[in-house]
Amino acid sequence: MDLKDLYRDVIVDHNRRPRNFGRLDPADAQAEGFNPLCGDRLTLFVNLDGDRIREATFEGSGCAISVASASLLTEAVKGRTRAEVKALFDDVHALLTRHDAVADPATLGKLAALSGVREFPARVKCASLCWHTLNAALERRAEPVTTE
């Protein structure tokens, strides 16, 4: 296990200076995510143009992996349709959990920096929390998402 695989420069940077951090008020959709194991808590806000995400922001607190992942997510989903977001989530999920998944920068962009997380199974939920929360926001589920 090499810590440099987990805490890549992109991750450290997005943890120190999270992008799109704050509320959208009003927001077309929002949802809360909670990881009871470590206390990570975040809220995702989304504004839509029809089927396409115009803006995504988040607020909350958590570990470096969960904050960086949420920050990267808000950048990555901007301008994408629901179907494109779904496909991207599938790619990210594979990246986080499957050892044979290839971190293709062409499809994943900066999200490829999350590929080191799979070497640290206890941390996968930190990285995936924001994605599950985004799903809940897009499906307008009222119940907060938890990782347990």
């Binding site: 810590l3 470590c38 206390g39 808590r41 607190s61 570990c63």
Partner: protein
């Protein structure tokens, strides 16, 4: 490591820690290429060879079910199991073995008292009193009783140092208080609660007292008669013993009057479909085949602790705490959460710019095992307005060098993430 800090060349408690460490096989390993530094003792301690051997020797030579057979092995198992009960009795200075009930752990002991002692006698208007320092195991069982009966759960506040507010307690206890349930030592912060003062007040009000001793019993001598508590609950695995074994000490008169909690074999004298005669104490509360090997392992753990001496253990752990507190405060941005006047060797802390979860991962790559999270005490985290803390909890087999390794690993965490 900088040598600027003054060091204890010879621990004044006079423990031969190097020799003690050789008794703990698990400590002789590397994690991620580094020597294991085990500082998660408040979650669960490690086992000395003597405990492991007592368990395997029992299984290799003496195992059979207890209280049942006339054959030799059943007799040996029964003698060992009941012998273990007497070892526990002496260890906490209970008057009689009837007052020592074997359970799965502290959690089960508290649930037993909540359901069998408190629940039948409370209703709307009655009050159950706990503190803001409690582990979930000393919150949820009372919340359940409150929901089942309509009794009110009241919580004594804590202050910024992590001490239970004694003045508030004196105002809150009253004629409707039916139980006072307090941690002896806080698992999340290390606060040693001055329970004697609380018990004295509870006595004047005629309120029975339960102490959650999960963190107390392994780190200092406990005398239930001197404490004058009614119930004392603890777990084997936090005091060098096996998992799955714990103890409920209960004052005999109270246990006598309590209905059984679980039904089954061993807790009865006679059964017909019309009528059941319950067994005597303590077996009335021990339905089913008990954790025999667990009790035997627990007795071996107690022998081990007593051979070193609880007072010497407490003295050495106090030195570790003092050293660790001083060293940790040299780490820039580190804040200790819980600064009570009397503490066990537990230090909860937060590090500016580094989330506890990241601390845990980075320390693990350096071989250092600590706990991170809410420590099953979410109300304590809420009080201090932190989502989680990192917690280093020490035992008498830890060394000053291991504290140095912890500090060095924390410096590494800072350099990676800030």
């Amino acid at each position: 490591m900088s040598a600027a800090e003054p060091r204890f060349d010879t621990p004044s408690a006079g423990l031969d820690v190097a020799a003690i460490r050789r008794d703990f096989p698990v400590l002789e390993q590397t994690i991620n290429g580094r020597p294991l530094v085990y500082l998660d003792n408040a979650a669960s301690s490690q086992r000395p060879r003597q405990v492991i051997e007592a368990i395997s020797s029992y299984y290799e030579r003496d195992h059979a079910n207890v209280h049942r057979g006339v054959h030799t092995l059943s007799q040996r198992a029964t003698d060992a199991f009941e012998g273990a009960r007497d070892v526990v009795r002496r260890f906490v200075n209970a008057r009689a073995t009837q007052e020592i009930v074997f359970v799965r752990g502290t959690t089960e002991a508290i649930n037993l008292v909540a359901q069998s002692f408190v629940r039948p006698k409370v209703g709307p208007g009655d009050e159950l009193l706990i503190s803001g320092l409690e582990h979930h195991a000393n919150i949820v069982p009372w919340k359940l009783v409150s929901e089942q009966t309509g009794a009110t759960l009241k919580v004594i506040p804590i202050d910024e140092r992590g001490e239970v507010d004694f003045q508030a307690f004196e105002r809150m206890i009253g004629p409707r208080t039916r139980i006072l349930a307090l941690a002896h030592v806080s698992n999340a912060l290390g606060t040693v609660v001055p329970v004697e003062r609380f018990i004295a007040v509870a006595r004047r009000h005629g309120v029975p007292v339960l102490l959650d001793g999960a963190q107390g019993v392994a780190h200092d001598a406990v005398d239930v008669q001197a404490l004058d508590c009614d119930f004392y609950c603890f777990s084997g695995h936090k005091m060098l013993g096996p998992t799955g074994i714990g103890v409920l000490y209960g004052r005999r008169e109270l246990l006598e009057d309590m209905p059984p909690w679980q039904g089954g074999g061993d807790m009865i004298l006679a059964v017909t479909f019309e009528q059941i005669t319950y067994n005597q104490l303590p077996w009335k509360f021990e339905a089913g085949t008990p954790p025999i090997a667990g009790a035997i392992g627990l007795a071996a753990a107690i022998h081990y602790l007593e051979a070193i001496g609880m007072k010497r253990i407490a003295a050495y752990e106090a030195e570790l705490l003092e050293y660790a507190t001083r060293r940790l405060l040299t780490v820039p941005g580190l804040r200790i959460v819980g600064t009570a006047e009397r503490k066990a060797a537990v230090i909860s802390f937060v590090l500016e710019g580094v989330h506890p979860h990241d601390i845990g991962t980075i320390l693990d790559t350096e071989g250092v095992a600590i706990r991170t999270g809410h420590h099953c005490a979410m109300p304590v985290m809420d009080f201090f307005r932190v989502p989680a803390t990192a917690r280093a909890s020490m035992s008498f087999y830890n060394t000053f060098e291991e504290i140095d390794a912890l500090v060095a690993a924390l410096e590494r965490a800072r350099s990676i993430l800030t």
